[in-house]
């Protein structure tokens, strides 16, 4: 179905103007991961709506004393490894738990598209497992899941 007013699907436009669908972004908190260690961060989908995730972005910053919050240079420090788990089903979004950050996540300019969108059920928890394989650079990460909420009873 051809697009209309920036919507790829006229049904989405219908749902948007009738208040059944709302564009939204869920993000994990900015999470520190020490050198050669792992950390988990989670975000819960609200209970009144399911969430269709159609894009993901992520950022990695230094967590050092002098350059905190500045972006990590992956030519100097190894990119971290990441796994995303949908707790509603317990399933990982990837087949492996050691996928490199750089393979999956883009910035806002080039977000990683998920097509078709991944459905997160209401009240599910999206858990992100972060593994810093660098022995020298502590890191901070934030991953954002972009898409739209569809309110229960609206489908």
């Amino acid at each position: 179905m051809p697009g209309i007013l920036g919507f790829k699907d006229a049904n989405l436009l219908r749902k948007m103007v009738s208040g059944k669908v709302r564009r939204f972004t869920y993000s994990i908190p900015v999470t520190s991961v020490a050198v050669s260690s792992s950390a988990q961060a989670a975000v819960q989908v609200e209970s009144a709506s399911c969430f269709f995730c159609n894009a993901i972005t992520g950022r990695v910053w230094n967590d050092g004393a002098t350059d905190t919050n500045r972006m990590v240079d992956f030519a100097v420090a190894s990119p971290p490894r990441i796994e995303v788990i949908d707790q509603a089903s317990g399933a990982s979004l990837f087949d492996r738990s050691d996928v490199s950050f750089d393979s999956l996540w883009g910035p806002a300019i080039f977000p990683t598209r998920i097509n078709p969108p991944h459905l997160f059920e209401p009240r599910t928890v999206i858990t992100v497992v972060l593994t810093n394989i660098s022995a020298a650079v502590a890191m901070r990460l934030q991953v954002s899941f972009h898409g739209y909420k569809e309110y229960l009873g609206a489908r």
Partner: protein, 157 residues
């Protein structure tokens, strides 16, 4: 005005196209360049600004771009040298945040030079509504921040 737009929900796709034909145009809404203080200890510098939507048209946001400048007026273009700010947007017609928490700049703000961050699906801002934009600065120098909302004005009455 609101009723006219919600009428689209009951139309076929062909009727929708006929209804909006000649009643929309591409448009950009931007915040004023906003000074954001540097981080103080662990407290992020914080500033807010507002974008007001025209009373005569609704606005579908299809993308976001923006910039943050150093006090010298130069673009803080390299996030390896200058920490990126974070932001939150609040639709004041409903009080709803567009993000569940403040999000770092390069997760949600693109660039006109490369590509604006795509809002897919677009976000609907009703006529006469306003968007409160909150900038937070985690860097040790102050910034001047601005974002631009790209999209379509829709004139229906």
């Amino acid at each position: 005005m609101k009723q006219a737009l919600t009428d689209l929900a009951r139309m076929t796709t062909r009727q929708m196209r006929q209804s909006i034909a000649g009643h929309y145009k591409g448009f950009f809404y931007s915040t004023a360049p906003t000074a954001v203080a540097a981080i103080s200890g662990t407290v992020l510098g914080l500033s807010t600004t507002t974008i007001n939507i025209d009373s005569g048209s609704h606005f579908f946001v299809t993308g976001v771009s923006g910039y943050y400048l150093l006090t010298t007026g130069l673009l803080a273009a390299n996030p390896m040298l200058h920490a990126e700010p974070q932001l939150q947007m609040t639709d004041q017609s409903s009080g709803i945040n567009l993000f569940d928490r403040a999000v770092r700049w390069n997760n949600v703000v693109g660039s006109g030079q490369w590509q604006p961050f795509p809002f897919d699906p677009p976000y609907l801002l009703w006529a006469r509504s306003a968007v409160l934009v909150t900038f937070e600065n985690p860097e040790t120098v102050s910034y001047t921040c601005s974002i631009t909302l790209l999209g379509y004005k829709v004139f229906l009455n």
